[in-house]
Amino acid sequence: MAGENVKRRFEYERFGPLIALAILFVVSAIASPYFLQTQNLLNILRQVSYTGIIALGMTFVIISGGIDLSVGSMVALVGGVVILALNWLLTVFGEGGEAWAILFALIIGLLFGAGLGALNGLMVTIGKIAPFIATLGTMAIFRSMALYIGSAGVFRSESNLFPDLGMGNVLGIPNPVVVFISLAVIFAIILNKTRYGRYLCAVGSNPKVAKYSAIKVNLTRFISYVAVGITVGFSAVFLSARLNSMSSTNGGLNYELDAIAAVIIGGTPMTGGAGSIFGTVIGAITLGIINNMLNMLGVSPYLQGTVKGVVIIGAVLIQRKRSQ
């Protein structure tokens, strides 16, 4: 009966963000001759990878029916702690062990990110605090902790090797982009091919049905916050490596907005229950291209936020039209 229409709509839903990106890509290529240069394209990818990585975890949280506003502050706090840990590890491992020190600092960053995510997860599940409120609270707390520990200044690394992690590349592709793409593949597999991914959608779609279906609703939600914490860990490590420092005031500022925007533009509904990692990657790249184009065309940086806002609202409008 209505089957055919449904199918057609579903396909459109899936490829809508991709089509939008393709159009944007063509328009950009025509508008600026520099756009298609490899270096520029790689730059765009590198720029979006820091918030893009976080957007992967954010996709999980949003599918589960939650939200995490604390990720930006978390970047500053985790980045700061990573640099402090690295400086200490350098003295522990000595001259020859700098690579080891960096590896351990990376692991500490991931674990610390996971821990902060777990804190959010506990408040939302055991504490039964609305995710918006809980993470609004930790957003303030994490930033304040970063400012306090860093005396409102910049955490500076004493390593000479650390920037190589941030600036380096694999076969010409910048390291953070490699991490972004690898994580995207892993998250997509988890979401689409594993039990956890299925449970995540079920919990976000209808937690009561999920509970009656013998799914551990709280555990499923908790893990999504830990996952976003881990992605923040990756992002914070590669960001601080690139700058060989982390600012306690500006580090990760407004990252939560870009991460959430990428998820929404990618077609994952704010109400949860379904979502797409592929869409989120497309969403992140779309945001990056918009920024890049506005810069190239010489649009005032103060106006860039307006364009971004219009794109987000437009994406949601189109989605709502489709679901009607």
Binding site: M1, R195, N206, V209, K211, Y212, S213
Partner: protein
Amino acid sequence: MGEVLIETKGISKEFSGVRVLDNIDIGIERGEIFGIIGENGAGKSTLVKILSGIYTPTEGKIFFEGKEVEIKDPLHAKMIGISIIPQEFNLINELSVYENIFLGSEITRKGFLNTREMKRRTISLLEELKKSIDPEEKIERLSVAQKQMVEIAKAIAYDSKLLIMDEPTTVLTLNEIEILFDLMRSLKERGVTIIYISHKLKEVRKICDRVMVLRDGQMISVSQTGEVDEEEMAKRMVGRELSQIFPDKVSPSDEVVFEVENLTINGLLENISFGLREGEILGFAGLVGAGRTELAEAIIGIRKRDSGKISIKGKPVEIKSPNDAVKNKIAYLSEDRQGSGILTSFDLIKNTTLISLPAYSKILINSKKEREKTKKYVDKFNIRAASLKTRLEFFSGGNQQKVSLAKSLDPEPEIFIFDEPTRGIDVNAKREIYRFMNELVNEGVSCILISSELEEIIGMCNRVVVMKEGRITGILEGEHINEEEIMLHATGLKGVA
């Protein structure tokens, strides 16, 4: 009487080229109660949605009070005097009774809400319905029957001439149904026309003046209800002779496989003890609020028990969550299909394997195995689906219920608790579910059947536990399983109350 209020001429409706309603001609008189019966998918809802302005017909004309009308949307329908009491109520839980009744047409004075006038009118409306509900009470604190009354009051407040009731009695107790029927009769006396849609043929016969049978979008017959009995109605609905609706009962073994002792939830359940034999169907009867669903939820670990012991095959088991219940091979088919049974946004496959997913995955989900298993259930239960990837929101109630069954069955339970398994589904789907229960007990699965339909309890069960206000008032066997005995125990006139 005699004056035609609403008339349709050649109404048809197509969805993507498929004709779901074909050439319907009806004329309904002022003050008539007009029944519409038919199986799921027969076109009842489509017809109702056309009359209430939700769908526009592909072909045909509608005449209301002698004039041709084009019903644009539900608001327009309301304005000309057509109101619908939907199955799922459109009330806002957080608002009070009077706020709901006047929602969207608030009475104002100089731009401010005139609450006093609205309350006064609400009281007089409810008085007309012979109902005493506090106009300031919040909707969430009302019983289902009271909510329905508020819906009806809302319709009357709009001065409706035609009231459409879609399955109004599914959520009501016997007593409440009687009250509703009284109300319908008094509305009829006031000249209000009622279209009454139901699966319950007995009720249709009792309350309706005429009844129309729909089948596959076609109008099969319109007759005076006095002229057709229930069997004839059922025959016309399915288009062939109905064989016996309940299968022959299977005798269970004597071995008790599942035992509940002194289960108590303070304020809800008191000292519930019973045993379930292997291959038995044990009925749970009682009025709404007797605590049967709460008992089921306590057994599967959704509700916390204050005390009590559960044992399977003589061994005590700890069930603290639905996960524990599944591990102990207990399945529960919820009475609230959409609220706690299936995920409407998930497709057929993902719903079917939701509980048993661990059996389909080591690290990655084996989607081929999932698909094959789902196909088996589609054949077994005769599930009508466009494809295995169709989302359940596009399924009819009966088909959703079958998916819900498949989902509960997939973990291969040994104890199966059915909670109102046939609520709101048609005769044919009911029969299929009864046959399936019979198959289960033949395979040695032990079943608990919670039902408010006495016929079902009497037709299916080997023994019947009757509950009243959280206690067991009797366990009936053999010839004692009859309507009278069950009602006497359910109301506490007999047995230990």
